[in-house]
């Protein structure tokens, strides 16, 4: 059975009057096309600016990282033994000890805990007591259990 190329589904006949249908479809299509293009442009523009932003942040990160290395090197120069000795002898007028007299002192310091040695004793743990508000929270809500 031949089908008319201009046939419109019956369900749409009421909605689109025949005389307005073509121009309306064209207008809607043009509007959709325009909107799509606009959206595409906005998206492209967004992606482009995002790409530039990512690049800028990456440069910023590298810059900060480089500054860290630089500051660390500067600190190392300031902490160098040669500089410390020069400061001690010239500015503070210190001189090497002529004699070393070891003395016994009452101290809680563990052997080797000074600058020179490496202590093999475990470091005392910090007081990890819960803060006061944690106790209140525990009291108020028995369901919140501490892991």
């Amino acid at each position: 059975m031949p089908v008319s190329p201009m046939s419109v589904p019956k369900s749409l006949l009421g909605r689109f009057p025949r005389h307005r249908s073509l121009s309306a479809i064209l207008n809607i299509s043009a509007a959709i096309l325009g909107m799509t293009s606009l959206m595409l442009m906005v998206q492209i523009s967004g992606v482009a600016s995002m790409a530039y932003e990512v690049q800028r942040l990456e440069d910023l990160r590298l810059n900060w990282q480089e500054n860290n290395y630089r500051v660390e090197a500067e600190m190392a120069y300031l902490q160098s033994l040669a500089r410390i000795e020069a400061e001690a002898t010239t500015r503070l007028k210190m001189a090497p000890a002529k004699e070393t007299i070891p003395v016994l002192v009452a101290s809680t310091l563990q052997p080797g805990a000074g600058t020179g040695g490496k202590s093999t004793n475990p470091i005392p743990k910090a007081n990890n007591a819960d803060p006061w508000w944690q106790a209140i929270l525990d009291l108020v809500s028995p369901l919140w259990s501490k892991s």
């Binding site: 480089e66 630089r70 660390e72 033994l81």
Partner: protein, 577 residues
């Protein structure tokens, strides 16, 4: 008709020429498409794709407490692109800006710009990072700015021969920089991107980024304080005794960790001159790569072997005539005098050559060389750095060995060892008989984790009892020996001097190698120190030249390491002793 024929011929010629031209074009096209395809494809890709290298940050080398001994920062190198500024006004303005920023004379900039070359010319290297960024932001015409890694040495030339150097490409060339280059260097990254006709990156084009991986930080076993102490002592010794060279090694005998390794002459880390061959000699880590005849310090090994084999005790006696004749060769004591009836402790105390030759006779060649090998001589210690010497000596298995070798080897002549081998061997005595592998790197900290190097026990060479007995004998050497210059008041130290004849091209010369090796405190040894002074000008003896250095270093290290004296302490006011 005639005109028609002419026109026809002209037409044929024209068509022929066009056809020939077409064929030529076709051939050329075929040539481009088929024969030179790869070449043109590469050019096209090169035009289309840009590549940017992301340099990896080279890791730092730190001492055992984390202080950087070598660290990398980024600087900038500033270049001039010759002939790129056409306007004379702009050229003059740029020259003035460059002058104000870099303090480079305007004439220098103008001269470089007027050069007839296409490659950029270096205007100033090592420009500070902030200033380089400022120049980069200004976008000055005719100026190219490139990042350049710069290796910093906060402690100056400290441990220069151990650290080694990096080349301009930041690759390690010597020392630890070379040995651990793959860890320190990290991995460079790349950005591959599409670019437009003028070479700029297309914002939404293809972009592939392979991030660079930072180099690892290396934590050495070296302590910068002890290292500096050793180097200061060496500098003083070089001034006082004017030797050819000198070496100090400090080791933790319990672990094999090298606390200091210093050599003189050394080189300037900040300005190494690889073109100068005389500088190369200064770059060698003599503590590891040089061999020498240890002289009397080797008597420790002979005694250890004999004690372990039960051939002697400290109280065993022998008669010392002052000389002994071995297969036609006369071996004398260092002073040419006989000491009469002496104990084995006396043999060590007075460094009696005839006494240790007697001991080596008791031992016999096979056990003697078995212990020499067990103590690690004649083979590399496998320390983690380049250029280690294995040392050498003849054994009865060698055709040119003779029994005289056994006699001379027993007091450290005719045997070549490295300073590192010597300290490693004697540290086994300090460590209750266990030979440890020496090492320079404690841990490697990478962005992905930490690699820790644990001490490695190579083997047990002697029993703890023998080690204790020998330590007691070596204590007597320090306290009752020839000069007592190695004694440290308040502490019990053990040690042995060495004075060996130096080798020259024609045999033994009159010059000597003065050395001392000692450890302490003997109850719980915290360090072992090896000192070698090559060919001192003022005094040939190890007891005079090297022993005082041991005492000076030990005194300062004991304070630094907070080791209480062996004897009674002075009580502070209000404290019961």
């Amino acid at each position: 008709m005639k005109d028609g024929a002419i026109r026809y011929r002209r037409l044929v010629v024209l068509i022929g020429l066009i056809a020939l031209g077409g064929l030529a074009l076709l051939a050329q096209t075929a040539g481009i498409q088929l024969v030179q395809h790869d070449y043109f494809k590469a050019i096209a890709l090169d035009e289309h794709w840009g590549r940017k290298d992301l340099l990896a940050h080279r890791g730092a080398i730190r001492d055992r407490n984390g202080h950087p001994l070598a660290a990398t920062t980024t600087l900038y190198d500033i270049f001039v692109a010759p002939g790129t500024i056409k306007s004379s006004d702009l050229l003059s303005k740029t020259a003035k800006t460059v002058n104000s920023l870099l303090q480079v004379p305007e004439e220098k900039f103008l001269a470089l710009h007027s050069q007839a070359r296409t490659q950029p010319a270096l205007l100033q290297a090592g420009v500070a990072y902030d200033l380089g960024n400022k120049i980069l932001d200004l976008g000055l015409p005719g100026i190219k700015v490139e990042k350049a890694a710069h290796r910093n040495y906060p402690e100056g030339n400290l441990a220069s021969t151990v650290l080694g150097i990096v080349g301009k490409d930041q690759k390690g060339l010597m020392g630890l920089e070379a040995y651990y280059n793959s860890d320190l260097a990290g991995k460079s990254g790349t950005i591959i991107y599409e670019r437009d006709s003028v070479g700029n990156e297309i914002p939404l084009g293809f972009r592939e980024r392979e991030a660079s991986q930072e180099g690892a930080d290396i934590f050495l076993t070296i302590d910068r304080f002890i290292q500096r102490l050793a180097e200061k002592e060496l500098d003083q010794a070089m001034k006082k005794h004017q030797p050819k060279s000198a070496t100090i090694i400090v080791m933790d005998p319990k672990t094999g960790a090298i606390l200091a390794m210093a050599n003189r002459p050394a080189f300037d880390l900040t300005q190494p001159n690889l073109g100068d061959t005389s500088q190369l000699d200064r770059m060698r880590n003599r503590a590891v790569s040089d061999m020498y005849e240890p002289g009397s310090t080797f008597k420790i090994i002979t005694m250890a072997a004999a004690l372990q084999e039960g051939k002697i005790t400290p109280q065993t006696t022998m008669f010392d005539k002052g000389y002994v004749v071995k297969y036609g060769w006369t071996i004398t004591n260092w002073d040419g005098r006989g000491n009469g009836q002496v104990t084995m402790t006396d043999v060590l105390k007075n460094s009696i050559n005839v006494g240790v030759v007697w001991v080596s006779d008791l031992l016999g060649p096979e056990p003697f060389y078995k212990y020499v090998k067990a103590f690690g001589f004649g083979q590399p210690t496998s320390i983690d750095t380049n250029g280690e010497a294995a040392g050498q000596y003849r054994t009865p298995d060698d055709q040119d060995w003779s029994p005289v070798d056994l006699a001379t080897n027993s007091f450290g002549q005719a045997i070549n060892v490295s300073p590192l081998q010597m300290i490693t061997a004697v540290s086994a005595v300090a460590n209750g008989g266990k030979l440890m592998r020496p090492y320079l790197v404690e841990k490697i900290v990478t962005p992905n984790g930490v690699r820790v190097f644990r001490p490695v026990e190579v083997r047990r060479v002697i029993t703890p009892e023998v080690a204790k007995t020998l330590t007691g004998m070596l204590k007597k050497v320090v306290e009752e020996g020839l000069t007592k210059l190695a004694m440290v008041p308040g502490y019990d130290m053990a040690g042995k001097t060495g004075t060996a004849q130096a080798l020259s091209a024609t045999g033994y010369s009159n010059a000597t190698i003065a050395s001392f090796i000692g450890f302490g405190p003997i109850e719980d040894p915290r360090f072992i120190i090896f000192i070698k002074i090559d060919e001192p000008k003022d005094d040939p003896w190890g007891s005079v030249v090297a022993s005082p250095i041991y005492r000076s270093m030990a005194e300062q290290m004991l304070v630094y390491l907070r080791v209480p004296p062996s004897g009674a302490l002075t009580a502070a006011p209000g404290v019961k002793n």
